[in-house]
């Protein structure tokens, strides 16, 4: 090669190398830039249901909690691993040895979104409201609190009548949301203009259409807030919600229906984050609810399943949870036999290692049907909804049970009507779920304790009551996990409830947006999100 040609070749190689390096730098810089959030803009979120009253005292809906995330911070919050962490409190509470006194230190220098100072008096006023307001839904969640002291502006002392371990978890939800005293004193309906401490503040609401919140000038950590406003649009039809996301009308979609997940996963303009939730879906068996919920004492109802534990075990053994998940939900949920989800920090010590066969055991089921002594057993399965997916679930269960000799008749029922029938005890089995609570007490006690307010099964077991009440009062986490493990075994053996799976929620997020967080509680957390620059 001549000298000039060699020079040209070297220059060419150099250009290629520099070009490659520049491209690599550009890509790296670009990837970093994609994660950079710019300030400004309005984020629009399509919610699957409409929030009820925007007053934490009486609020009940799951989606309402998503709105509250932006406008009403709590004493405590959850981190991505569902551990309780301080939010308006400065630290986790100091708990006395007898678990009857909780001392909570508060952050200082914080204001409500109307400029009022946040202090211990405001906390006391709010908690007292939760305990005494007529129709307060929060009362049962913090009922063991007997008195509240405020020795100074940044300290609250809660005195309990009885030990209650789920208390801190309750204060990490609506029971821990603190309301502005000025707003409460204004005399108007708090829900029409809610004021708390939050990165955003309430602006307006059009019933059935949207709720708008705007950036708060009084928030204590303003630098983390990027958006000017967030609009929560009420879009109950899942197909419309998905279409709106794909058309760019909304940037975040709440809970995509399972049939739309593959389509959105192929859409290059959106990401589809998922969250294995702390809730569960299962089948409640009516064992003793003859006269209605909490009409004690419960007594065995005259159905095949209620009369025979063998038959209940057969019913469970006939169910192939993996196949149910695959056929009904396209494999998108998480099959399980217990109410505590793997995503919960309580899962490992309470459930891990316990017996759980996700596949059907038809030979065992058939032998147990025979052993029950009941010829031609019949079960009615009430479905808590009339949508196609729920109907499919009923049909799959029906065919699985038919294979072992149990005849199942399916009754699709409108949701509120099904709740009414369940409470009245006019059902045999009921396919329904629970959105889940961080503390295991929230997923268990109400459903299987004799005095549980959600015990539609009418199940009454003195030993289980002793175990569950003990878990509420236990002084250590180890004692609680031991007791819950015993409770799981009792429930699994006697089967007042048969757990099928934990819902995995799928969400749609436009790639133009960054910083939307979703944890195992299933709540969309948009407060520190923003548009990517």
């Amino acid at each position: 090669m001549t000298g000039s040609l060699r020079r040209l070749a070297l220059i060419a190689i150099g250009v290629v190398v520099v070009g490659a390096l520049s491209a690599a730098v550009a890509v790296a810089h670009g990837a970093g830039s994609a994660a950079t959030i710019k300030n400004g803009g309005t984020l629009t979120i399509g919610l699957a249901e409409e929030p009820d009253a925007l007053d934490p005292t009486i609020a009940r809906t799951f989606v309402g909690r998503m709105v509250f995330q932006t406008i009403c911070e709590k004493l405590y919050d959850l981190d991505s691993h569902l551990n309780v962490v301080p939010q308006l409190a400065a630290a986790l509470p100091q708990v006395s040895a007898d678990k009857l006194t909780y001392t909570i230190k508060l952050r200082s220098g914080i204001k409500f979104n109307d400029g009022t100072a946040f202090d211990s008096a405001a906390v006391k006023q709010t908690l007292t409201r939760y305990l005494t307001f007529p129709g307060s839904v929060r009362k049962s969640e913090i009922s063991p609190i007997s008195s509240i002291d405020t020795p100074n502006a940044t300290t609250v002392v809660l005195h309990l009548a009885t030990p209650y371990s789920p208390l801190v978890a309750q204060l990490a939800d609506r029971s821990g949301m603190i309301l502005s005293p000025k707003a409460l004193a204004s005399g108007g309906t708090f829900a029409q203009n809610p004021v708390c401490v939050g990165p955003f503040m309430f602006k307006d609401r059009v019933a059935g259409d949207h709720i708008t919140v705007v950036k708060s000038p009084d928030y204590y950590d303003k630098s983390k807030v990027h958006l000017d406003s967030i609009v929560f649009r009420i879009m109950t039809d899942p197909s419309s919600r998905t279409a709106a996301l794909r058309a760019g009308d909304i940037q975040v979609e709440d809970r995509i229906q399972s049939t739309d997940v593959p389509t959105l996963q192929k859409d290059s303009s959106v990401t589809v984050p998922k969250a294995v939730t702390i809730g569960y879906q299962g089948i409640t068996l009516n064992l003793g609810n003859k006269n209605g919920l909490l009409k004690l004492p419960y007594s065995t109802v005259n159905t095949d399943l209620a009369k025979s534990q063998d038959l209940r075990t057969a019913f469970d053994a006939a169910l192939d949870r993996t196949t149910i998940n695959k056929v009904v939900f396209n494999g998108l949920n998480q099959p399980d036999c217990y109410p505590i989800a793997p995503v919960s920090p309580w899962y490992k010590p309470t459930v891990s290692g316990l017996s759980c066969d996700l596949h059907a055991n038809t030979s065992l089921a058939k032998s147990l049907v025979k052993a029950s002594g009941i010829s031609n057993p019949t079960v009615n399965l009430m479905l808590g909804g009339t949508d196609p997916v729920t109907a499919r679930l009923g049909q799959v269960i029906q065919s699985m049970e038919a294979a072992v000799g149990i005849k199942v008749t399916v009754s699709p029922t409108e949701f509120t009507t099904s709740l009414n029938r369940a409470d009245a005890g006019t059902f045999d089995t009921y396919a329904v779920g629970w959105s889940g609570r961080v503390d295991p007490d929230g997923n268990i006690y109400g459903f299987v304790a004799t005095k549980g307010t959600l015990n539609d099964s009418g199940y009454s077991n003195a030993r289980l009551d002793y175990v569950l009440n003990g878990a509420r009062k236990s002084l250590t986490t180890k004692a609680r996990t031991t007791l819950y493990r015993v409770a799981m075994q009792i429930i699994h053996r006697q089967r007042p409830l048969i757990y099928l799976y934990h819902p995995v929620n799928y969400y749609g997020v436009s790639k133009k947006v960054s910083g939307v967080q979703i944890y195992g509680d299933g709540l969309i957390r948009p407060q520190f999100a923003g548009f990517a620059s």
Partner: protein
């Protein structure tokens, strides 16, 4: 004319009163009360009791009815489950559905009446067959399917129009029309099919009438014969049909509002039923009943204006 109107108005008031009784009793016949719906998955007995007390459901039915009616007469329809004033919610949502209904009627009438006139004038020919086919398709295609197909094509694929939502005309006139165009087409399709058939049938009758033969014999241009003489008489029946369809349109808007996520009155009704929000449901159904009665009253008035015989005899031929 005055006596005719008084008689009609009196009958309307009686119908509204009877509707209020039916509404009141009917909502309470729904399985599952507000306590189950509002309590949701958390049905603490104390909360259920408080909800029943808040709604006055622990009082005797006649007491509940008198309390509700006495407030309703003053325009106070109570607070809904969201703690928002029911009257305000209804007042803000009715105009949206009325706008949707108006645009649907406008589009449906323009298309339906025009197609019907053409079909009648060109009876038995290609235009008549095309119009009849269009009517058949328009009546057969379900609204929800048509709506979803239009959303996929025009919003998701082409990005020409928004997929859903509503913007008020005052806030953004162009945005309002963009949001309402697809819903109005979906809702108006069925109406245009009905009107096409009705117009065609009425026009055929009118075109064969003696006065039309006389008009032609006088040498009037065909467009005057058709447009001024035959069509005007045909519009009497068409107007009646539009009046009847308007009521059905407003209630049929439920599906369209649900698909296109329009915060209208139809969707409000569905929400109230699903949530067992008694206060909202009572208010919504009462207003709907009153609306029907008023529309039919207006149709009677318009009918009497078009046909003077109605004013004199108080009834049709």
């Amino acid at each position: 004319m005055g006596g005719f109107l008084l008689r009609k108005a009196g009958a309307a008031l009686i119908v509204v009163f009877l509707s209020s009784v039916v509404v009141f009793v009917g909502v309470r016949a729904l399985p599952g009360g507000p306590a189950q719906a509002l309590g949701g998955e958390n049905r603490d007995p104390d909360v259920v009791k408080a909800i029943n007390h808040e709604y006055g459901l622990d009082k005797p039915l006649p007491v509940q009815y008198v309390k509700w009616v006495s407030h309703a007469i003053r325009g106070d329809l109570g607070l809904d489950a969201r703690q928002l004033p029911v009257a305000h919610t209804i007042v803000t949502r009715i105009p949206i559905t009325l706008e949707l209904a108006f645009l649907s009627v406008l589009l449906g009438s323009l298309i339906g009446v025009t197609a019907g006139v053409i079909a009648s004038v060109r009876r038995g020919r290609a235009e008549d067959h095309a119009a009849t086919t269009f009517a058949l398709v328009g009546l057969s295609v379900p609204h929800f399917w048509l709506g979803l197909m239009m959303i996929i094509l025009f919003a998701v694929d082409l990005h020409w129009l928004p997929a859903s939502g509503y913007v008020s005309f005052r806030q953004d006139p162009l945005g309002n029309l963009e949001h309402m165009l697809m819903p109005a087409i979906v809702l108006g399709t069925g109406l245009s099919a009905v009107l096409m058939r009705q117009t065609r049938s009425s026009m055929l009758t009118s075109l064969n009438a003696d006065y039309v033969r006389t008009a032609r014999a006088k040498g009037l241009p065909e467009r005057i014969v058709v447009g001024k003489h035959a069509l005007r008489n045909s519009l009497i029946t068409v107007t009646t049909v539009i009046g009847l369809q308007l009521g059905a349109l407003i209630s049929g808007a439920v599906i369209t509002e649900q698909i296109f996520v329009i915060p209208g009155f139809g969707r409000l009704t569905l929400e109230a039923i699903n949530e067992r929000d008694y206060t909202l449901l009572q208010g919504v159904v009462l207003v709907a009943a009153a609306g029907y009665v008023i529309v039919n009253l207006l149709v009677d008035v318009v009918y009497s204006l078009l046909n003077p015989r109605i004013r004199v005899t108080g009834s049709g031929p």
